[in-house]
Amino acid sequence: MDEVALVRAAINGDLDSFNRLVLAYQEMAYNLAYRMLSDEDAASDATQTAFFSAFRSLSSYRGGSFRAWVMRMVTNTCYDELRRRQRHPTTPLEPVDEEDDEEIESPAWLADSSPNPEQTLEQGQLDQAVQSCLEGLTDEFRVVVVMVDVEGMDYQEVSIAIGKPLGTIKSRVARARLKLRDCLQGFWELLPVQFRLENKDQL
């Protein structure tokens, strides 16, 4: 059964058809949520919430790319979570010592726990390096570059997914790539061998 028939059946209330669509797009949705939220548990919750919202909002689907429509649900769910984090930050500004119930004066807790380039080099994890650079982008730029470069969506789908015109997508992709290029300068040596050799030639 093709996607159009599955979508039509899902709109009519067929949960099995909708679940087949979920299986087809859940990896993409989860990865997008993870790149947006930088947390696996939050990404899992957001993905589940997005599919739940998608099923309840199937009547608002007006055709076109169903993948882009699902990614729009994921994006909106991630935006909601990011706004919730801004309203309710979980990291206290002044940690309290559990023993004497006094504020800790040592600034050790202020140290950035995220890996620096050297640590990332030691860990050898390209994924964390990229994620670290992605976190440096604003939400609007991050979602666009993740969709285009990480998930491989075309501009038209991204335009549908975030509800912005194509010109905005082009501009945001270019500016996000420029920022990522500058950020990834310190991680070039983390790149696989084929990239490093190429970088060496280019540099």
């Binding site: 299986l23 859940q26 993905t47 599919f51 491989g152 082009k170 500016r175 990522l180 300068q185």
Partner: protein
Amino acid sequence: MTTPVSPDDWELLSAYLDGQVSARENEQVRLRLEAQPELQRAFEELRRTRMVLRSVPRKRVPRNFTLTRAMVPERRPWSRLVPSLSFASGLATLLLVITFAFEFLPGLNNSTQQMAAQAPAPAATAALQAPSASDSNPSTPNQGAPIVIWGGGATGMGGGAGGGSGQELPNAGVMATTPETGIGGGPTSAPPGGKEVVPTEPAQVEGTQSPFSTSSPSIVSAPTETPPEKSTEAPAATSTPAATSAPALAAPLTGEGPILGIRPTQEMGKIVIDQGADQTSRELTSRQPTPHSTSPETSFISGHLVAIQIGLVVLALIAGLAAFYLRRRF
């Protein structure tokens, strides 16, 4: 390592890398890349950046995100009516407010009464014009019972103007007594030369007492030289009701007279009964709509308005409660 490339070129290169440029732009970028080494370097940096992003390992989903029946309650056909019921309830409430505003707001209420009064208005207008028509017909009973309608449009308070014209135009001819020219006539109806002017309606001229004519002959030749007293008397003479006698023509402007609603001095203390005029006036009074009277059309509209309001209240309540119940239930 940073390449001095303009932001526009960066955007163009980025779109070119993704194949999101037109054929003409594609050819232009290709030629520029061959000619400009710094642009070629920037393009390579862009391409490598994208390659790195695409080489990021994909996360495996921790579990399937399929939905179960327990997570999603089965949608029943009744649940689809909730939006329609909510909309119907809101619309009924809005219309109810509009009908209340239509009923209670002064401007809208007046317009309603005016709508209701439009039907009898032509009849009243016809009644207002009836005297002149009846006077033109000698066989009518009101032949000798002229009617004076004070403030009645074109046939109304033209007396003042007529008097004025009499003063300023001593050579004015006959003060035509046709209803169209008003009592005493107007400047436009006073032909020069002092000639006799036959009114357009001969019935008013010959023998019949026009509503605005006095007991003197209907056709009055104005003297070539009008004495000042005469001209000053003109307003009183022209403004005197037709039923008054000739001496009223000489009544001075002493605050009495029809303009002020007071009989001339000569008639004070007398009982003047004008059966025809009184009867016609009663007819006119009965035909003219009064602000407080309720015409059948008004009662018809108000009766239906109440019915509409009751229906809207019932519809809003039923639809709203049904939508609320279905939303809570499903």
